[in-house]
Amino acid sequence: MRVIGKGVNREDGYEKVTGRALFADDHSFPGMLYARVKRSIYPHARILEIDTSRAKALPGVLAVATARDIPGMNVVHVVIDDQPLLADKTVMYVGEPLAVVAAETPEIAEQACDLIDVKYSKLPAVLDILKARGKSSPKIYKDNNVFAHHKIRKGNIEEGFKKADIVLEQIYRTPYQEHAYLEPQGMVAVPRYGSTMEIYGTMQCPFYVQQAVADITGLDLSRVRVVQTYTGGAFGGKEDVPSLVAGQAALLAYHTQRPVKLIYSREEDIISMSKRHPAWIKYRSGVTKDGKLTAVEIEFLFDSGAYSTLSSVVLWRGIVHSVGPYNVPHVKVDAYAVATNKVPCGAFRGFGSPQVIFAAETQMNELAAKLDMDPAQFRSINLLQEGDLTATSQLLDHSVGIGDTLKAALGSSNWRDKRKGSGGTDGSVRKGIGLSTVFYGVGLGAGGKQMARAGAYVQLLRDGSAQFAVGTTEMGQGMRTVLSQIVAEQLGIPYKKVYMIETDTSRVPDSGPTVASRATVMSGNALIKACAPLREILLKRAGIILGQDPQFLIFQDEMIHLEEHPEIAVPLMKVIEDCHHHRENMSHEGWFISPETSWDPETGQGKAYFIYSWATNIAEVEVDIETGQVKVLKITAAHDMGKAINPLLVEGQIEGGALQGMGYGLMEEVLVDEGRIINPNFSTYIIPTVIDAPEFQPIIVEKPFRDGPYGAKGFGELPLMGVAPAVTAAISHALGITLHEIPATPERILEAIQAAKKANLNG
């Protein structure tokens, strides 16, 4: 293939590194106003009064809107419609929006917000997920504070544990994680002709934003157009919450009939936008003395925050991934999304899986230790293989690359020697190595089945260039490049001749959200479908020119020629010109519906996802036993993504995801005091810097997916998912301790060393 499988440069790289790319805040319109949001200062309170009179009287203020001024519905739809755009009767978390202001300058808008007087009557807040389920807890959602409960029942759990020689039960905790995208949330709402609304902004899911703006303004969907601007990172943090930002801007644009720009400050973004759910996980596994898993029983809680938003689906991905990529005959899982008076949690790379993977993989490493077995060998006994059934009893019939990733990573990292040479007594530094094996269900799965379709539009122009549009978005992950490669390959034209039009709801039908690592598979397939009639027209026209039957013609090197006789050929460019001359329709649409999935909510059994990607992570660390500081030396990550359409971008995804996963495992922590986030900026919310980055060894394993474009599966989230437990396993290996809570900060590591010393003295 000419373009597929090549590490071509990013299509948008030049614009981004030269500063030409226009992000949300770079967009301005004549007569534009600036918006600010008034937010709750209490985690839970009744609103007695919102007095906007002083704010409205401030010169330069054009509009102040509260819940009462919403012409449509005061709802931001995600799954359950419990979240208002602006709080009406009660506030449910610190930072919840109460009112919005549009003014001539951002400074006046800010000042006007300060002039809005809110009278509250404080209510008892629910802050702890374990207490939230107790009888005595205040109720903030239904009668049990539970937004969702999902379960898996496979085999017979009692029987499974009876067959076990060793049973291990542990409790695990994982923290919030903040997306820390470079570009904060931002939208510009532009009213046109008194009856339509255009939205420009940073987002993953333009069709969600379109729905939200239509709901809030009361306009028909047909009168709301959403255009995605260059998006400076998202990681799930721009899945559902941009609907709030767009709704706020659109409400003010609706009332003033002037363009309104709303850009969040970093602090505002961190306190009010979604996060990774903190989790409490009770994990019990049974294993025979020769290392075969017999049973897994899990109960876990996600701290969902004040509104349900995406929690139910996040929890669902969590249960499907909770057992890990292992063949376990008896499984029982119960998972709950619990309501608390804190910021609503939502999507974040891995979507409910990194929490349970931390528990599952730590559990596997400790079971291996109890069996006195190498954790890699213990994995190979239990890993899923072709023909096996998953925890949801899904038959894996092809593209199961987990064993290959394990083999590749073990070999490349020299695991066996390094595993033997742990610890060390040279000064205060100890070395260790640890691993994790992970799988990832590609796409929305049975949990989001109704949205599992995508559209595409392709036009081949008379100069031999092509433009295309899709409904999924580029957010830095590389979709624009990968899809351009697919179009170039399909149409036989050079990669540089392909241009992707910015994602715009008026160009293609609702293609679902850009989440769940689905863009390559979904939009890639839709594009292949859109290119098919164009290929047919080109071959037909070439057949006429050459006087040959089109079925024996092929595309090669910007020529079309007879397969058996390459000398009988015509330049592609001539064929394209001829097509236009003969008034052929050179623009076509494609529509792709995902392969079938299924789910029984009572038993948690079914074909959860249409395909899985697989990975093995190996982390090597040095730990200073006197400071508890960890230096990650190297991360080897072998991934099976079916086909690396662009190996360079694949490696970039692996490295970036691994670093983000390392941050999750070692240092990132949102600190909440009485419902208030106390570290809402980057001097106190600590993410890894380039100096903290280890050496990366990305490894590509390709086990093709038969329904994927060129065999590709989605994998963008996978690089993050299993890195935290690989790093903590390496720390445990270095020090002979166990870590059941992340982040593994130096404070926690020193505590664990102390605890281990005490246990040794007593034991």
Partner: protein, 290 residues
């Protein structure tokens, strides 16, 4: 958002005059890396800003026999880049201060933030302050009425508070150069390996004769409301043969000398424990070294 008058004097006298007239209503901007955050967060709302960043008179490193005199408007990069004259001087004669300047904030912050700002900001986590403690620095402060010198250890009184009067500006930082046998270091620890604020830090200076330190001074950052000395550890190490055993004992003593708190950066327990580790890291290279 701000209705603030900005004063940008051309001379020190003009600056002092503005200070004398406006007293507490004015905030001084040197590098601005702390001030602008406070303005943005509205933790201070001054009527005016005295922007002294253009006062070239306050940007110097002067060598006067055994004394170094540093202008408060020198940036951290200017004092720590060994390839420049100033950086080389600091590296030779006050290496612990060079290190403090080198590990403060990020490259961007070090390019604009000034040593004077770090001192007047009077935070217990200021990375130049423990080194200045062990160097025995004296601060020259001036007002229209004259000048006085304040010992660095007497300068800060609480987080963000110091003895500078509303009429005064910091105009010089003076200390004795290292002599031939003097050795010093500054070590800090945080949540990551770069761009971090200290959970604990330790500065050390002493005269080394091959197995004994004399004239030992140790200062601790981030473990009390201000930077503090660790007099007991210093006394223990002073004129005492440095061995693995005495080093371990010193590490135990230093852990008792901080008065840390739990906050969003770390815990009491951790901050105490790592004081020992930071001291040890700095002194280990001297063990067995003649």
């Amino acid at each position: 958002m701000f209705d603030i008058k900005i004063y940008k004097p051309k001379t020190l006298d003009d600056a002092l005059e503005i200070k004398a007239n406006l007293l507490n209503d004015i905030a001084v901007l040197a590098g601005g890396t702390d001030l602008t955050i406070r303005l943005k967060e509205k933790t201070i709302i001054p009527k005016g800003i005295l922007d002294i960043s253009g006062l070239e008179d306050l940007k110097f490193v002067l060598e006067d026999n055994a004394i170094l005199n540093i202008g408060p408007l020198c940036t951290h990069n200017e004092l720590s880049d060994r390839h420049t004259d100033w950086g080389a001087l600091i590296d030779s004669y006050a290496p612990e201060l060079g290190e403090g300047c080198r590990v403060l904030g990020s490259p961007q912050i070090r390019n604009i933030a000034t040593i004077g700002g770090n001192i007047v900001n009077s935070s217990p986590v200021g990375d130049t302050i423990p080194p200045l403690f062990v160097l025995g620095a004296r601060l020259k402060v001036q007002s229209l009425k004259g000048e006085r010198y304040v010992d660095i250890a007497d300068f800060a009184t609480a987080p963000g508070k110091n003895v500078l009067k509303p009429t005064e500006l910091l105009t010089g930082i003076v200390f004795e150069k290292h002599r031939k046998k003097d050795r010093g270091f500054f070590n800090k620890i945080g949540q990551r390996r770069a761009l971090f604020i200290a959970k604990s830090s330790v500065a050390f200076k002493g005269s080394w004769n091959g197995d004994i330190f004399s004239g030992v001074k140790i200062a601790l950052g981030a473990v009390a409301p201000t930077v503090i000395f660790a007099p007991e550890t210093a006394a223990f190490l002073n004129d005492n043969k440095l061995t693995r055993d005495t080093l371990d004992q010193a590490c135990n003593i230093i852990r008792t000398e901080g008065r840390p708190i739990n906050d969003l950066r770390s815990t009491v327990q951790y901050r105490r424990v790592v004081l020992g580790a930071l001291l040890k890291k700095g002194l280990l290279p001297f063990l067995g070294k003649k």
